[in-house]
Symmetry: C2
Subunit: 417 residues, 2 copies
């Protein structure tokens, strides 16, 4: 399978410029960038081997910039171009990649945010792609249909969860933590045998299988990724769960029926804030009077677009909402938020497991795709660890019910038994 993601780069190769050597202006600009980031661990090595560092620092984390075209691409729009340039090796990182990205995230915090350069980058950042019925299908196909066998290499073996795991005990394996996440969600939903569940965005069908097998629920699960639905159906059939799970290749907006539970894990990032009200309307249409719902999503403390490179190359149309923005789902329907839990550091830990497994299969993945694919995904996974560790990204689980439902449990103790 050929990788299309790291194909056409917007910055032309500049062998002729590289040959021209490094100018005084190049060095001053590199120093200015380091001053804005203001991280003593960070340094820059220019294409002539010249190293730039802040005064009285000995950086352990260095960006090696291989040519002037790469350098000016970075200066112009680092969040968009760093990923592409790293993928093809025109930028290299010396030192731990995650630590390097953490320092960059920290440097881009409050102070850097106000600089003229940052404001310019914001202007240059394109809006995420739309999520109409057709666009959503294309966006989801782009990421999830690149091959089940690729994801199987580094996701947990049993449930293929491509969402944040739950590590109440930090020594848990990835497999244990994904089961703990599934169970945590079932408990939050107060799932009972025979419950009718509707799931919006079911991935490879793991949550539905868990709910049906462990809790005896009947699940109807929606997904617009053809490869995922085919895989999920086959697994459910093979495990004798086909009578309790129906996987439907369709958009969440086309949901019908009535359900005791609504659940959506890791889909909201692909819905887009313009459609939250519509999603709330769907929930309001399908949830019973005493139903429970849960939405699990990457989020933000304050509104910000998804990193431009991730949105362009990895997750087209993706947007992580703030809690305020999420309220557009619940408020217009008078749905009552019962519980919000922020699992930010659990996602950093999940990603560490994924990255380690990914690295252990790097050669195989390179043979399935190519070298720039491996580098792009390495950067995406490492960058996500850094984003969660620096508080740039959050992970919200929100439980909700109808406003007049008085059959609420007296505490959340059942989650911890």
């Amino acid at each position: 399978m050929k990788n299309e993601k790291t194909g056409a780069l917007t910055i032309p190769a500049t062998d002729d410029i590289r040959a021209a050597g490094v100018s005084g202006l190049d060095r001053r600009l590199a120093r200015r960038v380091l001053e804005l980031l203001d991280q003593p661990t960070l340094g820059v090595v220019l294409w002539d081997g010249h190293e730039i560092a802040l005064p009285s620092t000995t950086p352990s984390l260095k960006a090696h910039i291989r040519d002037r075209g790469a350098f000016y691409g970075l200066v112009r729009n680092p969040s968009l171009h760093f990923g592409d340039l790293y993928s093809v090796g025109r930028v290299e990182v010396e030192g731990d990649l995650v630590e390097f990205l953490i320092a960059v995230y920290d440097g881009m915090g409050e102070k850097g945010r106000k600089s003229v350069l940052r404001r310019l980058h914001k202007l240059l950042t394109p809006r995420p792609r739309a999520n109409t019925l057709n666009e959503s299908r294309a966006n989801i196909h782009h990421h999830y249909d690149i091959g089940n066998s690729f994801y199987e290499l580094w996701l947990d073996s049993e449930y293929q969860q491509y969402t944040c795991a739950y590590f109440p005990d930090p020594t848990m394996t990835l497999e244990q933590a994904q089961v703990a996440k599934l169970e945590h969600i079932c408990r939050k939903l107060e799932l009972k045998p025979g419950d009718r569940v509707v799931e919006a965005g079911c991935g490879w069908g793991g949550l539905a299988r868990y709910m049906a097998r462990v809790h005896g629920a009947h699940v109807r699960a929606y997904n617009i990724s053809r490869e995922q639905v085919a895989y999920a159906r086959e697994r459910a059939r093979a495990e004798g769960l086909a009578d309790r799970i129906e996987y439907i290749e369709d958009d969440y907006r086309n949901m019908s029926g009535e359900y005791d539970k609504f659940v959506s894990v890791g889909m909201l990032e692909h819905v887009g804030p313009d459609h939250y009200r519509e999603l709330g309307g769907v929930i309001n249409r399908v949830l019973t009077a005493n139903g429970r719902g849960l939405i699990h999503s990457i989020g933000r403390n304050k509104p910000e677009l998804m990193n431009a490179w991730i949105e362009k190359r990895i997750f087209p149309g993706a947007y992580p909402p703030t809690l305020r923005e999420m309220m557009n789902i619940f408020e217009p329907q008078n749905l009552s938020v019962l519980d919000v839990e922020n699992l930010r550091l659990h996602y950093a830990r999940t990603l560490r497991h994924w990255l380690a497994r990914f690295e252990s299969h790097a050669d195989k993945i390179e043979s399935m795709f190519d070298r720039s694919f491996v580098r792009a995904w390495r950067l995406y996974l490492a960058g996500s660890i850094a984003a969660f560790l620096t508080g740039s990204l959050q992970l919200f689980q929100v439980v909700f019910a109808r406003p007049r439902d008085n059959q609420l449990l007296p505490s959340r103790a059942h989650l911890y038994k």
Copy 2:
């Protein structure tokens, strides 16, 4: 002590109109009101003894309206005038008062909300009073300085908590449930011996005493109610806690110092949404890098002004926010919401305890104030039970931290040990 709250009514007594009897128009209008509410349990008895009910219903909950002036006052603006008219006995309720108010709340739900009458009432509802430094002082004095001995009659004996208790076991006494609430808050804050705590709006000082006595914390507690601060200081001195608690008669906006924990229980309702951003700024100013904060407040699923009568007679300046509105505290400061718990039904249960105790002292309270005071407070407590039971009001506890704080506990299990 003379009660000023139920003094000047806006509807003149109308003995002459009452003498004129009930017209056909009066009856049709009463029937129209019942149709809008659409609750089979509700009926109206007009001042000539004539009973109005919906077809084929036998209402068990009846509003007796004593004169035409009262009737038209109700029709014009029920949420404002019902309280005043009930207080002076121009409206009486036959049947359980809480059940009656639940039916009214249910009737005023989605359907009634759209009626022309409801829209008119909304237009006539005044905005809550402002909460500038001076106005806040007057607003708080109005409610909290009517006499500690009054509140002592019906609040829990040990900690004088005038906020929602926590009943993880519904058979708990009020005293047990208030201690459970205090402990729940301390656990959510991960309170440790020696922690420096700042409290915004400390009531009679119960939480500060609990934190100092049980957890060995050092608490600086702000309150602008003179009587409450005097009481709190005296209690802390008598209990040998004066070296660990400082009660400050000042506005939360004047907080200074640095603290490991920020806590505010039942103050946000008095802050007003125009000041949430300012409150967030105060928190950002005083909280340490690894500090924890908790705000406990009455809230809403969707934005709506406080009931007009409550705002006018009981809680001037009060406004219960939605979660979306509360985000104005956290978002501009990049504070990270870790946990939200909705304790709505716990407040209904708390209020049931309060109302029962209040009723058991009704004669004494009438001798301290007057009959209309007793009726106004009975209505306020019963109405609040109905508001929480029907989902008109919520109770949110929000835990937050700084975005870069990675010393987060791996789960919330410690709350349930």
